[in-house]
Symmetry: D2
Subunit: 422 residues, 4 copies
């Protein structure tokens, strides 16, 4: 059997329970600023209601831990298997994704009760079983899964609120970042030749199956920008007619732009002066990294700038060994900020020029748990580095996330690269 | 100038305020069984969220009464003009109907506060102005408008809840109707020759513009069934292959059936034994009138039964002069029940064979208030008589409501008619 | 059994064969100006390819005459039952209407061969059987059906050619009409009270089932315009902002206008100076009747003009007894022309304010032949009088055609009416 | 400046004209079996009408050769720039791709006249200018472009004819292949380590920009099947429930299967016994390579078979140096045949596990001519090796074609691969 991704026992047994509580509570805290009404709506098929996120991650622990290890476990509600399964076909039928916004029940308070009940059961279960490797593996996997949904919960509610003409803030009390300048743009020589990529399971405590196996990749001579592209730079592209010049765009990108009437990043105001953030409508910080651009837009910008996007291995080779530091979820801005973008981590996920494909020798996890990362290895592009809503403890240099090239509701931005002479 | 529909001063001044309070409070009570989450969702474009109904009818009084009579009136929130205007183009731009389900704010409690504030202002206003005819006219019009939305609120929330696999009841404590038999089906000779139809403004205290002017209609010899078609009769049609025989259906009806996969009335279970009601899933009462059928289904059933639907004037001639009695909103079943269907009022709106068109000499109300009934005089069929969710004080023999032939989320049923020899 | 619409033996037996040949040859001549390529394309679901029209009307005679009367008749090609049946579900399955444009075979020349073979068989059959009433009835019905498709063939090919940026003419050699003025607009008092409408089967030699039975209708006092609305008048409406003022439009009409970006009649150039006709692009004749407007446009124009559309019985009462004269197919312009519009027949079908519904006591034809007019009695509006592509021998005062309110690819125009004081 | 792809002067000057004539005439011969009606239809957006192909490739020579080199050149028809430009935005606006099937004019015979006129002009031009490198480059590029469209013309007309219930053959006289067995399936060790890939411009006379620059790729240990997957093998997968087991499919693939109701390869009969070919409906040859499967199907089959698809470089390393031999267009079967599939060329394009992305250092051609291969480098998968409708002189080991993972109207099949132990 394949291992369940956890590579090493995390820590002493009590630590696991503590980590469980911390991460689970964080999720619950994320909905504290919301009204029950906010937690129901699905503003587009990509978005899930906050309430659904809260329940789905709970179902994950109930199904893959409690019910898995204890055949006598009695479900909180049998019907939740249908409602809160997301994509695990081998588990059974599921509620159609685009209909998640139809579910007014269970209510938010019922979902919170469901969470509390499952949390009690998990913590009780951990008291006696936390030292079994498969238990720890599944708990840790579930917690990383939970952290993924924390990020989605924030980007999804941002989309929901943005569709309201009243433009309500998710949390008007979010901290304001300090006003800083962007550093001068430079292109730095990247690593070259055969290079080892993918998760080093000796060095990391956890990774997803899609980061494995570690293997050799061949890097061609290239240079990488020393920071992310900023709002100010991107606005120059817009003002220069970037959205009206078909030659700058991939064919599919131009078709999307025409169909959806794109003329600027998602959440920018028409006058290019403001943007909608989780803290509400605010002035565009020209020194902050541009955010909420699709792959098509990132690619078109790079072409306009006489550059290209880095490949995922160029990025990984540069990021490897650096501390996971920067404007992440832990900084509490929940928005890209100026002055930090020298980092390879945080602010925005960086679009790469690499399709999201399996690594040589890739094997998905066994059973239902493997019905995830591998199922999406087609038509999506890899993004790297995490964003302002990604937890520090969740991301690493080998971490691969992935989106369709037209998606832009996540915190997505870009760094430029250029070919070098060999 | 056209009058604003109220035909006579309703009653002493204090009565108007009392009636205002009663009807407005009824609306608020309708959402009492709901969780805030229930009030947000728009399960299809025809449906509006409960929260939207609550706010829209309030906006009606704010805009067409408070702001109309007092130029200095200060709006509760200027932006509500955009959010809660429904179709009055002359008032200004409005939020797109299919996007009403995106609005999580204002929350239910904020909307209830909006209601209370406007109610206070209206009642205060009425203390000094209730004796002005135009004031009374607009208040009464607003109250009838409110009653229309009470009905929609119930049918809309029923649809929302029906889309949830958990099948939650709107109110599990609704009364159970007594078990009764349907009376024997008979066809009774209808009125014949030139007959006066439309609202008799001397006899009625209120009507909508679409019921006027009163005029002569020519009735051809016909007979009318003495009661509505029942669930049991309709189930025979289903079991006889009615939904598989194209010859029974209008061309558009068959196309709709094929496209949407219709095989039975909305809310019936696949085994034809149960139906979803506001009180929850329950056994189909075979003696109760069939409900939630489209015009296409009503028409196909009638053809199968060797009959036809009555015209709206055949219906009106039969109903005129009868007391407005039957299973209406006031009965509190909120569902068609057996044994009452001899009535011409209540249980279900009756599909007629008449298109919803203007009467000879029809004039819509002046100004924005006229932007309603007349705008829809195309492609819809007239229905008559009110349903189990229509208020007794709201309906009358001349009352015309109207739906597209494919719609069936309202409480819609049918009575048969036949041609007679002249 | 119901009769097959023919009301009287047309004429001596040889006359029937002669009439058959004449009308059938006319159809074939209609495709003479076309290239084979022109006859394949279906430019929208409402349109059928010319080749399909040629084959379908032939199949009608093969199926409803040859195969009906001679059980031993051997089909030209068994598969044509599937391909060229249009809507007779009781005959069997049929090719989906929106896929008619996928059929490159049989080719035009094969279809013409099919026509010739069936024509030979019908004429041979008529030599011995033309004196049987049911034979004559079915032949005459088939010939009227053929004339309907002649009209459709022309309006359909017009639409096909209009979608080509090269704007090819159907026939560049069509005659130019003389330059004439429109007569002064007057409103003439119409008939009043109970009036007999529907086909008088004693006086007419043929009618469709939807014109029967003849019955009494009650006409309310009204006046009718003495001519059709002209291009010049309609252009004033356009220039006056008619397409930008929601208050003038039915709700569904405004939604259609917004969705499809309507700003003028179909086939008018953007500068409102030219129109596309079967003879090619040409200057708009301001004195000619406006054409290719939907019901929504006709209704909005009438509202703008302070008038309304006539009901179908107001129209019929005025037209009854007049000679069927005017700019019809027989005039060979194939386009509305100035100066003739005093007529009630020809130029353009006139939208009425009446929904297309069954007459009191209506019975469709028995069997498959009845699967037509009655199937469409919902959601369409009645039009009257025929157009510049309707044959004189095909139309009469009681003739009802019908279209959906958004359709405008037929030659559709309007005459104004007004209510009178009683 | 970038060169226009031709890497070496092809041959003596007269040879270029001769090659031009040969390839151009081949295209014209391809439409000889077709009726004019066949050449108009666009059966889905991916398909272009035969007539459009004939005109578009001609426009290519007119625009990029005649008009490019001779500023005084007078266009055959100015409007063809709009009609027959495909995707060169820098050339100007163009007719919308999904509307190509609306163009009945120019007719086939007019298009053939256009071809003849341009051919005369090109041949006359070549008499004096064929020795200029850029002329030869553009002519050769145009001829390869023409060969691409020859292939598309055949696969497109196959799709058009397949949508006709009469199932007409493109050419009923195509040769029948000999009945042969498939060879035993074996997995052969592939090349390993750093390997040179991409077009070797010293060795080849022509390549497209997307095959350049030649560069190092790192191959991981793997084995490749010695032949293509056969119809018989694929049918086992179907019968084993392959199309009903979500676990075998990529998430997008399963969604496509559900949406479009896939249950077998395109063109297979429901009983899995027959397939539609350019020669007409015929028995499925179980020993022949499976054809008309999407990437999703190829990927699911490989998973079911315990294998995977090869990467494009694994494929290229294996094919490099082999003679371009096999069942190609030149064999005249126009369909995959048994017994040849040991070849790396012909029969079917082989889906690879590689996304279609730019090579390191890739530069598109300058100007409008570069608006092609590079515009599509997103969301498509690379296919290799050519098919039974690809010309031998057009394909090579480094040749990359590309399709979206759901497309299957091209002749697309697969070869299996497996990971090896390092």
């Amino acid at each position: 059997m394949n291992r369940v991704s956890t590579l090493k026992p995390v820590s002493p047994v009590g630590e696991l329970a503590k980590r469980y509580s911390t991460i689970r509570n964080t999720t619950t805290e994320l909905v504290a600023p919301l009204a029950p009404e906010d937690t129901v709506v699905q503003s587009m098929p990509d978005v899930s209601p906050s309430k659904w996120h809260l329940a789905h991650v709970t179902w994950f622990f109930e199904h893959f831990v409690l019910a898995h290890f204890d055949p006598g476990y009695r479900r909180y509600d049998e019907r939740y298997d249908f409602l809160f399964n997301s994509y695990y076909y081998s588990v059974g039928d599921m509620h159609a994704r685009p209909e998640r916004g139809l579910l007014t029940r269970p209510t938010l308070s019922e979902v919170l009760d469901y969470r509390a009940t499952v949390d009690d059961a998990v913590l009780e279960f951990l008291e006696t079983r936390a030292d079994e490797p498969e238990v720890a593996e599944r708990i840790v996997l579930g917690l990383h899964h939970e952290q993924q949904h924390q990020e989605l919960l924030l980007t999804d509610i941002k989309h929901v609120l943005s569709r309201n003409p009243l433009k309500p803030a998710y949390d008007p009390k979010l901290p304001q970042p300090p006003a800083l300048q962007a550093r001068e743009l430079e292109f730095l020589e990247g690593k070259n030749g055969v290079h080892r990529v993918g998760c080093d399971i000796e060095a990391e405590t956890f990774c997803f199956d899609n980061e494995t196996p570690r293997h050799d990749a061949l890097l061609h001579p290239h240079r990488l920008a020393n920071r992310l592209v900023t709002n100010g730079e991107y606005r120059e592209f817009v003002r220069d007619g970037g959205y009206r010049d078909a030659r700058l765009w991939l064919s599919d990108g131009w078709a999307t732009l025409m169909r959806d009437g794109w003329s600027r990043p998602l959440y920018w105001s028409e006058d290019l002066e403001q943007e909608f953030a989780l803290g509400g409508e605010r002035d565009l910080d020209l020194a902050a990294p541009v955010c909420h651009v699709s792959y098509y837009e990132a690619d078109a910008y790079a072409r306009w700038a006489g550059a290209r996007l880095p490949t995922e291995f160029e990025w990984e080779a540069a990021a490897e060994g650096l501390p996971v530091d920067g404007n992440l979820f832990d900084s509490a801005y929940l928005h890209p900020v100026a002055g930090q973008s020298a980092q390879y981590f945080g602010d925005v996920w960086e679009w790469t020029a690499s399709s999201y494909l399996p690594y040589p020798g890739f094997q998905p996890l066994d059973g239902s748990l493997g019905e995830y990362n591998g199922k999406f290895m087609c038509s999506q592009m890899t993004v790297r580095g995490g964003s302002a809503v990604t937890s520090r403890s969740h991301v690493r240099a080998s971490y691969r996330s992935f989106f369709y090239p037209e998606q832009r509701w996540q915190m997505l931005g870009l760094r430029l690269a250029k070919d070098s002479q060999p």
